[in-house]
Amino acid sequence: MSTIDRLQEVFRDVFDDDELTITPETTADDVEDWDSLQHVTLVVNVEAAFGVKFSSLEVAGLKNVGQLIGLVESKQG
């Protein structure tokens, strides 16, 4: 399974939306309920799903799904 496909599963679970579709360009403005607190919940779930850990500055600096994919893959590499 690709990183974005696995991420999409996490997004659907966190935002409780089975129809949610993400792309590398997706931002918080595109997803209902993706606010600053839900961002932390999302990150914790991404960390658990991929077995990685992010720093607080990395968490705060994420601007879109593409950057999240890049961060996950850099941690796995």
Partner: protein, 139 residues
């Protein structure tokens, strides 16, 4: 550096909800202020138990907090010099919520977004030295 806890902020759905919570806890409002920047009436309790801020949104993002249900929102830490503390945090890579501190009556405030704290919204508070300078009819 923050030197003490200033208050704990709780978002209430409406004034009735705030009054019910105050009654339940046996607390009274000591002061209140409408903060236009956040579209909220802010009620402060005082006492030996510490200070609570009950936030009653009139619109905006706070009205949607916790999907509109309200609840525990932030902790506020008092600093002597908000500009100096903001500079210290920015030098550490933290992007504060506001570029400039927000006037909230007798205090000036800014926020550390929860992404930096793993889920805790931290408000920084300092005395607003210019508060009270306005003509009496404007206060």
């Amino acid at each position: 550096m923050p030197n003490r806890l200033h208050h704990v902020g709780i978002v209430c759905r409406d004034r009735e909800g705030a009054d019910e919570l105050l009654q339940l806890l046996g607390l009274e409002v000591a002061s209140e202020e409408y903060v236009e920047a956040y579209e909220a009436q802010c009620l402060f309790t005082e006492g030996p138990q510490g200070r609570l801020e009950l936030i009653v949104p009139t619109g905006g993002k706070l009205a949607k907090f916790n999907k509109g249900a309200g609840g525990l929102h932030h902790i506020a830490l008092e600093v002597d010099d908000l500009d100096a503390e903001s500079a210290r945090l920015r030098a550490a890579g933290v992007q504060l919520l506001e570029d400039e501190p927000v006037d909230a009556g007798p205090i000036k405030i800014n926020f550390v977004p929860p992404a930096y704290t793993r889920g805790v919204i931290v408000e920084l508070v300092a005395p607003n030295t210019s508060w009270g300078d306005a003509p009496a009819e404007d206060q």
